[in-house]
C-alpha cells in the first residue's frame, strides 16, 4: 500500500522500480523489475491503461523518473481528458517535461502491406521521445493494436523481440499492455518475449457487483504475492487492496496509549492500550461504545497525534453533538485538524469500494490512531466472504504499520456474544465488553475486560458512568450481583 514502508526483498540483486501504486509495491516487494519490461495483460476495460499511466505519473511525481507513454489507440487529448476525470493532471506533467504522450496512430490512412519491413519508424519515434524528456519509464499501450494492423506476423515477431531487447539495453523500465487471449495469457503470445514480470488484470461482474482482480503470474528472481488481489480504480488511481502480510513480524511496541478514560487506563495495568494494537469495544445498543471510542480519539488528539474516525452510522455533526454532552470536545479537534471524521454509510453492495476508500484515506493521512464505528457491516456480510477476508487483512495491515485501531461492534440485544465477535476475536489484542443491567428501575452500564494480551488487566466488572463531566468508572459495591 504505502511504498515508503515497502517490505525489503530478502533476496537482493533485483533492482526494483517502485510503481507508487497503492498496494502493488507491497505485493511485488518494491515494484516492477527496473530496466526491464513488464507485461500487463487482461480483457477490455480491465484497467490496463490506467495502471500503466499511473505507473508513469507516480514515477514522474515521486521517483524523479520521467515517462513516455506510447499510445497506439487513444489520442493524447483523449487520454488527458479521461485521466483528468480520474484526478490526474497530465497536462501539468507534460508541461514540466516529466511526461510525454506519443500517439502512434496506426489507423492513419489505409494500410497495405507488401514484403518485408522493420519497425524502425517506431524505434526512431521512441528514441526521439525518450531523448526529449530523458525518459526512464516507457509504456506501450497496447501492443495488440500493432498486431491487429500488420499481417506479416513473422516480420512483426522478430521486430517485437528486437524492441524489447532495445528497451532493455537502454535500461528503460517498460510496461507493455496486451489483450488477454483465449486459453493463453495474451492473444499474440507476448509472454514469450517478456519473461521478467507478468501481471494479469481481470474485471468481472458478479451478482451485479463490479470486481477487479490483479494477479502476478510471474516475477523472475523476486518474491511476490501469489493471490488474486482485489483492486479498485478510485479517485486516487489504482489501489491494490490486500494489504499483504507476507511476513508476520509486526513490531510489538511497549508504548502505551490512554483509553481516554482514567478508570479504564487503571484497569489496563494502569496505562491503557498498547500502541499499534487492535482494540474491540463491543456491546448492545446504548451501552456507551461510541462514547468510549470518542474518548479514545480525543485522548489521541490531546497527545498531538492524528486520529481518523470512521463513523458508519452517525453524521459528523450528530456524533460531535452527542459527545459534547459528555464533555468530549471533538469539534475543536476537528477544527484544529488533528481529528478527521469520515461519516458514511456503507451499503452491502459497495463494501469493497468502501474499504478501498478507507485504505486510501489511511494511506494519505497516515494517522496514529484509527476508529471504526461500527464494523458490524463488514463482518456481517454473510454471503461475501471476500469482504470479511479483506477486512481482516486491513486490520492486519494497520497493525503492521503500528497504527492503533479501535473497532466498535454492536452485539445483538439478545445478549449472547454473536459470531461477529468470535470471528474478530483472534485478531484483537484487547477486548472491552459493555453491558447494561437493571438495578431496581434503573439501568446501569457495566464494563469489563474480556482480554488484553500482554498485560495484567483487571478482572473486575465496573460501572461506566456517563455524565456531563465525561466518562468515568466506578467500582461496583461488593456482594452485589454483576
Amino acid at each position: 500500500m504505502s511504498f515508503e514502508n515497502k517490505v525489503p526483498d530478502p533476496r537482493p540483486g533485483i533492482e526494483k522500480a517502485p510503481t507508487g501504486i497503492a498496494g502493488l509495491d507491497d505485493i511485488t516487494h518494491g515494484g516492477l523489475p527496473a530496466g526491464r519490461p513488464t507485461l500487463v495483460c487482461g480483457g477490455p476495460g480491465c484497467g490496463k491503461t490506467v495502471l500503466a499511466m499511473e505507473f508513469l505519473v507516480r514515477g514522474a511525481q515521486r521517483f524523479g523518473e520521467p515517462g513516455l507513454f506510447v499510445s497506439f489507440d487513444e489520442s493524447p487529448r483523449g487520454l488527458v481528458e479521461n485521466f483528468r476525470s480520474a484526478g490526474f493532471d497530465l497536462d501539468a506533467l507534460i508541461e514540466a517535461k516529466r511526461l510525454k504522450i506519443t500517439h502512434i496512430d496506426l489507423s492513419h490512412g489505409e494500410v497495405v502491406e507488401t514484403g518485408d519491413f522493420t519497425l524502425e519508424g517506431l524505434f526512431i519515434r521512441l528514441d526521439y521521445g525518450i531523448r526529449e524528456i530523458g525518459a526512464r519509464r516507457v509504456v506501450l499501450d497496447s501492443m495488440e493494436t500493432v498486431f491487429a494492423t500488420l499481417a506479416n506476423t513473422d516480420s512483426l515477431r522478430a521486430e517485437i523481440g528486437r524492441l524489447f531487447h532495445w528497451l532493455r539495453d537502454k535500461g528503460i523500465t517498460a510496461v507493455v499492455t496486451a489483450e488477454k487471449g483465449a486459453g493463453e495469457l495474451t492473444r499474440h503470445g507476448f509472454e514469450e518475449y517478456i519473461s521478467d514480470c507478468v501481471l494479469v488484470l481481470d474485471h468481472r461482474i458478479d451478482q451485479q457487483i463490479s470486481k477487479r482482480r490483479l494477479r502476478i503470474v510471474k516475477y523472475r528472481g523476486s518474491l511476490h504475492g501469489k493471490d488474486e488481489y482485489p483492486f479498485l480504480i478510485g479517485e486516487a488511481g489504482v489501489s491494490v487492496l490486500p494489504l499483504t502480510s507476507l511476513l508476520l513480524d509486526h513490531q510489538a511496541s511497549g508504548e502505551r496509549v490512554s483509553t481516554g478514560v482514567g478508570g479504564l487506563d487503571e484497569m489496563l495495568a494502569g496505562q491503557g492500550y498498547f500502541r499499534g494494537t487492535t482494540i474491540l469495544v463491543s456491546g448492545k445498543a446504548g451501552t456507551g461504545k461510541s462514547s468510549l471510542a470518542a474518548a479514545f480519539a480525543a485522548a489521541a488528539c490531546a497527545r498531538k497525534e492524528h486520529c481518523l474516525y470512521f463513523a458508519f452510522e452517525e453524521s459528523s455533526a450528530q456524533l460531535a453533538r452527542n459527545m459534547r454532552s459528555l464533555s468530549i470536545d471533538l469539534e475543536s479537534w476537528l477544527k484544529e485538524g488533528s481529528l478527521t471524521l469520515r461519516a458514511t454509510r456503507p451499503t452491502f453492495l459497495g463494501l469493497e469500494e468502501h474499504l478501498a476508500a478507507m485504505i486510501q484515506l489511511i494511506d494519505t493521512l497516515k494517522p496514529a490512531c484509527v476508529v471504526m464505528d461500527p464494523v458490524t457491516n463488514f463482518l456481517g456480510a454473510g454471503d461475501q466472504p471476500e469482504i470479511k477476508a479483506m477486512f481482516m487483512r486491513l486490520i492486519d495491515y494497520l497493525k503492521s504499520r503500528q497504527i492503533t485501531l479501535l473497532l466498535v461492534a454492536l452485539t445483538t440485544i439478545f445478549g449472547k456474544p454473536d459470531e461477529t465477535e468470535e470471528k474478530i476475536s483472534s485478531l484483537v489484542d484487547t477486548w472491552i465488553a459493555l453491558d447494561m443491567e437493571m438495578v431496581g428501575h434503573a439501568r446501569r452500564r457495566q464494563i469489563y475486560i474480556v482480554k488484553s494480551r500482554g498485560m495484567e488487566h483487571s478482572q473486575e466488572t465496573r460501572e461506566l458512568v456517563m455524565s456531563s463531566d465525561g466518562l468515568s468508572l466506578r467500582g461496583l459495591p461488593l456482594g452485589e450481583p454483576s
Binding site: 496512430d105 502491406e113 514484403g115 519491413f117 519508424g121 517506431l122 519515434r125
Partner: protein
Amino acid sequence: MTGDTPDKKWILRLYIAGITPAAERALTNIKTICALHLKDQYSLQVIDLLESPAFAEGDQIFAVPTLVRQLPKPLRKIIGDLSNTEKVVVGLDIRTGT
C-alpha cells in the same frame, strides 16, 4: 531527394531508415511502377528517418519502408519493400488509363 511538385497529380513519399537492402528494393520497385503507370504525373520524395526523425510523426510512420500516397486523397500507406507489384498498384489505386 526530389521535392514535392504542386502541379503533379500524384505525390508520393517513401520513408526509409538508412539505406538498407529493403529500402533499396523499395525505391527500385516504386520507381519502376511509377515509370510504367504514372509517367510524368508523379513526384516521389524519399525521407530518411535517421536523418529527419521528426518527420515520422506527421505521417504516423512506425514501419519502414513505408510508401505514403499523399495525393490523390485519401491518404494511403504501403508498408514493406514493395516487392509485390500488383499489390502496390492496387494499394495505390493506380487504374490504367489515368
